[in-house]
Structure formats: C-alpha cells, structure tokens
C-alpha cells in the first residue's frame, strides 16, 4: 500500500519541505484535538514555536516557488489573479469549517447536557448573538477557538498577491516585511476583532515568516548554503540553545507544582513571549530548526524518497486539502474524546485521524487537486526541462 502511495508523490520537488509540511499538518491535527495524549508530545511542548510557525514558513516557501515561476512566465496580473483565486478557495474552506464548528459545538452541548454547570460557557459569542456572529465570521472578525490559522493564511496570501512584483528583489521584500512586522509589534497595528482586541494570530506580524519562506524558496539552494554556511560549533550552540529553551519552558510550566519556583525575571520574560504578535524568539526558534534540519536531512536522503516517508510527503504536497480535512477531523476527534475516555479512544482517534489524512492526500493527488493544475504549465520552467 505504501508503494501505491509512493507512486503518487510528485518528484522533482524538495521532498524535505513536503515531508516536514506533512509532519506539521499532522501536528496541527493533534494540537486541534484537545485531550489527545499525543498533544503532549508535539513541538509546542518543547520549543518556543510550534507547528503553526513551520506551516506558515513552508507555505511561503511553496508559494515562492510556484507563484514565482508563474509570475516570470505570465506576469504579475496573471500570477496575482491565481493567488486571488487561491485566497477565494481558502475563504470558502474557512466558512465551511466555521459552519461545521458551530454544528459540532451545538451537538456536543446537547450530548453532554451541561446546563448550569459552567455558566460562562453560555457566554460564547455565537450562542449570544448568532446572526451577528455569522456576519462577523464572514468578515473574519469573529474566529472561534481553533479556527484562526486559515484567516491568517488568507490575509497573508492576499498581501503576497500585492507584493509579488518584489519577488525578484529579495532585499526589498524582506525589508518591507520586517518593517511591517516591526510596525505591527511596536505600534500595535492589528486587524480588528469582534470578540476581543485582536486576532489570535496577527497577520501583519506573521507575514514575516511567510516572506522569509518566499525568499528561501526563490533562492538557489547552493547560494542559500553559502550564505548560511554550516559550522559545527554554531550547530552545537544552536542545539544547546534549543535544549535550554525546552528545559526552561518545562521547568517554568511544571516546576511550581513540584516545589521548584522559577525566578520571577525568567518567568516574566517567558510570559512576554506572545504568539499573537509572533515574538522574535519564536521566529528565531523556527529558523534555527529549519537550518539544522536542512543540513541533517539531505535532499537526496534515501528514506525520504522511499515508500515509508511517502504518506507524510504526500500530505505535505496536498497541503490545503489535508489541512482542511485535519481541522474537520479534529472536530470529530473532539466529540469522540468528549464522549469516551481511555486508551482505546485515544488510539482510535489518532490512528483513524492519521489514516484519514493520508487518504485525503491520496485522493487529492490521484484526482488531481493540487498537483495537476500546476504541473502541466509549470514543466517548461523547471531547470531540468530548461537545460537542453
């Protein structure tokens, strides 16, 4: 079976990116099913960043490659129109998931019949003002819990459509992106939200990771390796820093319950590492990891090209379909974990969840979701085809 999955993998791309993206999508599914025991083993438990950072960075990387080529061949208007079409698809997907979410909340409220127990839960905005909530959801100003990544992606991709002309001037692109990031953080620029003061992910800040991904995707890998040369000492330092971060985070979270009080200055600094505005430490953390992985995982690694890695590679290649399916499946997983508890539900949710994600990737690749549309016109621009 792995061999038939492997046959669907599109060759010629950097399979490492697809593999890591697939892994990030799996982590996002796990992190979106609260109560899942595997949730204690994902990246966010040991690092400042989590799968979201990886997902946005690699989304930028893939977009840089795909739309960059399109832009060179067909011009800005054409490429921007294609990006806009993608934005539209994401928007529809988001609204669909929003409807599923409200249905799931309604179902589990009825199933658990939790009347007066947690009074505050009746205060959820949809329960109080459903008509207004519908409108605000369409305006992306209302994002229920766990439905915050797609709105971020939608806005960042829309900004990318405008910034496409800068794609061959990485300095300008990065400069503009950093300036916007700094302004968003220092001047508190953020899109309005209905329920609170801000979006869970501020797109004006998070665009930075996407832009870095775009520039990385557009740069020749050799040049990139020369720009950030490998050094054993630097790598050792990076690993030490990542380990120190893991230890510090866990001591601060779990220390007080075991009789160890972290120093206040340390906890105070950690409490200031925000996710909403993409704290610089989170950027550094994901970039350092990317650098280490890029070196330790050679592009031509045999296992990466073999059947065992194929499910994750394929999931990464069919990113959008798998992401949406993952969010949808996480709703089902939550209901299952809500109604029953114990090892077998955990195993069932995770095995069925992963199997379904792979199945979605297989169907999408076979039917021609993300690959085929792009494959035919993209071929002439690939280096292999252009050399002879």
């Amino acid at each position: 079976m792995l061999n038939s999955i492997h046959a669907l993998v599109r060759p010629g791309r950097d399979l490492r990116v697809d593999f890591i993206r697939g892994l990030a999508l799996w982590f996002i599914f796990i992190d979106h099913t609260p109560g899942n025991l595997l949730g204690q083993m994902t990246l966010r438990n040991v690092a400042f960043c989590d799968a979201t950072e990886g997902f946005v960075l690699l989304a930028g990387y893939a977009a840089g490659i795909a739309y960059g080529r399109l832009m060179e061949r067909e011009g800005w208007a054409h490429a921007a129109a294609r990006v806009a079409g993608r934005v539209g698809t994401l928007y529809v997907a988001h609204i669909f998931l929003f409807v599923v979410f409200t249905a799931q909340v309604g179902y589990s409220a009825a199933a658990l019949d939790q009347a007066a127990y947690l009074d505050e839960l009746q205060l959820d905005p949809f329960g109080q003002e459903p008509y207004r909530a519908m409108l605000e959801a369409l305006l992306l100003r209302y994002q229920p819990a766990f439905l915050d990544i797609l709105p971020l992606y939608i806005v960042v991709l829309a900004m990318f459509a405008v910034a496409l002309p800068l794609i061959n001037r990485p300095g300008w692109l990065l400069g503009g992106s950093i300036a916007l990031y700094a302004a968003a953080r220092l001047l508190d620029w953020e899109p309005p939200s209905w329920t609170g003061s801000a979006w869970f992910f501020n797109p004006l800040a998070w665009q930075l990771l996407f832009a870095i991904g775009v520039v990385m995707g557009r740069t020749d890998p050799q040049a990139l390796a020369r720009r950030f040369p490998w050094s054993r000492w630097l790598a050792a330092l990076a690993v030490l820093l990542l380990l120190a971060a893991a230890v510090t985070l866990n001591l601060t979270w779990h220390g007080p319950a075991r009789g160890w009080e972290p120093p206040e200055w340390l906890a105070s600094w950690l409490a200031g590492v925000d996710k909403t505005g993409l704290h610089p430490v989170r950027v550094a953390s994901v970039l350092v990891m990317a650098w280490l992985v890029a070196h330790w995982l050679p592009a031509g690694a045999r296992w990466l090209n073999g059947p065992p890695a194929a499910p994750f590679v394929l999931m990464g290649q069919q990113g959008l379909a798998v992401f949406c399916a993952g969010i949808f499946l996480s709703f089902l997983g939550r209901i299952a974990l809500e109604l029953a508890s114990g090892g077998w539900v955990q195993a069932a949710v995770n095995l069925a969840g992963l199997a379904a994600l792979v199945a979605v990737a297989v169907v999408s690749a076979w039917y021609g979701g993300e690959g085929k549309r792009r494959r035919a016109p993209a071929l002439p621009a690939t280096p292999q085809a252009a050399t002879p």
Binding site: P34, G35, G39, Q104, V105, S108, A109, L112, D113, Q114, A115, A116, Y117, L118, D119, E120, L121, L123, D124, P125, Q143, P144, A145, F146, T195, G196, S197, A198, F200, T252, W253, G255, P256, A257, R258, G259, E261, P262, E264, A267, S268, L270, A271, D274, K275, T276, G277, R334, I335, L337, E338, S341
Partner: protein, 261 residues
C-alpha cells in the same frame, strides 16, 4: 482582646508547625486531590495574619464563585472555604469576602482589586480567572498583563502582607473540546510565576476527580446534578484549604528558620 491574641500567637505558630500533614488532610475520602496540584509555596501574608488571629480573604472571580450550579450561595466554594478553613485555623478567625460575577474578565477583576483592596486590606487574594477569557477567545496576552500589573501594584502597596493565589478554570470535557483552554492555562502558569503569585490548579484537580470517577459533574445524572455540584464545591474548598495550610506551614517554617540565630 489584644492581650489574648498576643498570648495565643506563639501557640498558633507552634500548632501550625507541629501539626502533622496527615491531620491537616483529614477530609472525607474522595476529596483527595492529586499531590502535584497541592504544592504550595510559602504564604507569608497569611502566616502573619494567622499568627495575629484574623485572616481576611478576598475572593475575586467569575460565575463559579457565585453559584456554579450549586443549591445556593452557602454551597459555593468561597462560602465553604470560609467554613472549612475557619474550622482548621480556629481559634483564629477567617473572613471571606467575594467579588466579581458571571462573565467578568481578568481586567474587570484587576479593577475590582484596585478599588477594594485598599479598603479591605486582604491578607490573601484568591483570584479565579481564565474561563471567560477562554470561552470568549479574549486575548491571552491581555489576561497575563492584567495579572502582572495587578500583583505588581499590590506588591508596591502592601508588600508581603498580601498573598495572591490564582485559580484556573473548572475542568470540563465540553470546555476542553470547544475552547483553547490549554493556551490560557499555560499562560496562567507563567503569569503566576512571573508575578510571584501562586497557581491553584482547579483544572488539574477536577480532571483527576473526573478521570478517577470520584466526582464528575459533567456525567452526573440530571436529577443529582445539584447535589454533585454542592459536593464538588465543598471538595474544592477542602482542597484549597489544604493548599493554603501547606503554604502557611511553609511560611511558618521560613519564619521560624529566619528567626533562628
């Protein structure tokens, strides 16, 4: 009266020091909370107040402090705390005042503390928060800031005389499934550690009770729900009492240790 207090003070401190932990935990079976949720750091303000004979407790929070499905105000955990803690520390007295209400946020609580604390001069503030923030998806960063600013202001005005204990949301499978509770709990842990406050994890304790099938309000039959809610609040008050007593024991040991030449 003052003389009586003065005579009692050494006896009280001594009693607190010598009280075997097992005695402090003399509670009905079923209430035993997991030990990792009962680890309290010293509570110097409460120790000082108890050694003087009167502990003023200020409870601030959202709906569960005022009802939470119990049979009435007398059955809520703050009222039960008043009784249970009072019985444990007698002859010292405990006075619990409750503020806040349904749907109030950490920012509301911070305002209440700023207004009421100078008048009330509490020795212990029990601040229950996070549920409304998570249910409505309010900014976790602002919740953390509210805690840090508020505790810093208390430190500036009252120094070591006021202890702060944060209380996180009630465990619920429904809540866990439909709100990003873990994010808010992580941030509450950091906010407590960053401001020198402590965290009493109601979530961990109630999850333990639910998973060991001792006390599971969410799965209780509708007819017995009020009774189970009463029992839950009583048990929460007992666990909190144990937590506070442990903190005062530590505080007393620190004081005794500090006074030694």
């Amino acid at each position: 009266m003052a003389r009586l207090r003065d005579t009692l003070r050494p006896a009280l401190v001594l009693a607190a020091l010598l009280l075997p932990p097992g005695l402090a935990r003399a509670e009905p079976a079923g209430c035993s909370a997991p030990p990792e949720a009962m680890e309290a750091a010293p509570l110097p303000g409460s120790v000082a107040a108890l050694s003087r004979g009167a502990l003023r407790v200020m409870v601030v929070g959202s709906a569960s402090t005022h009802g939470g499905g119990t049979s009435g105000p007398a059955a809520t955990w703050p009222e039960r705390l008043d009784k249970v803690l009072g019985a444990h520390v007698a002859p010292a007295t405990v006075q619990v005042s409750v503020f806040g209400g349904r749907g109030t946020t950490a920012a509301d609580h911070a305002r209440i503390i700023a207004e009421e604390a100078p008048r009330l001069r509490p020795h212990l503030i029990i601040w229950q928060l996070g549920t409304v923030e998570a249910a409505r998806g309010l900014s976790p960063d602002e919740m953390v800031e509210a805690v840090q600013d508020s505790v810093a202001r208390l430190r500036a005005s009252r120094g070591e005389r006021t202890d702060v204990v944060l209380v996180d949301p009630q465990f619920s499978r429904f809540f866990r499934a439909n709100a990003d509770v873990e994010t808010y709990r992580d941030r509450l842990r950091l906010a407590a550690a960053a401001s020198g406050a402590q965290l009493f994890s109601r979530w961990t304790i109630m999850r333990h009770w639910a998973e060991t099938e001792r006390l599971d309000l969410e799965r209780a039959p509708r007819a017995s729900r009020t009774a189970v809610a009463d029992q839950l609040h009583d048990c929460l008050a007992r666990a909190l009492t144990q937590f506070i007593l442990q903190g005062t024991l530590r505080g007393a040991r620190d004081r005794a240790g500090g006074e030694r030449p």
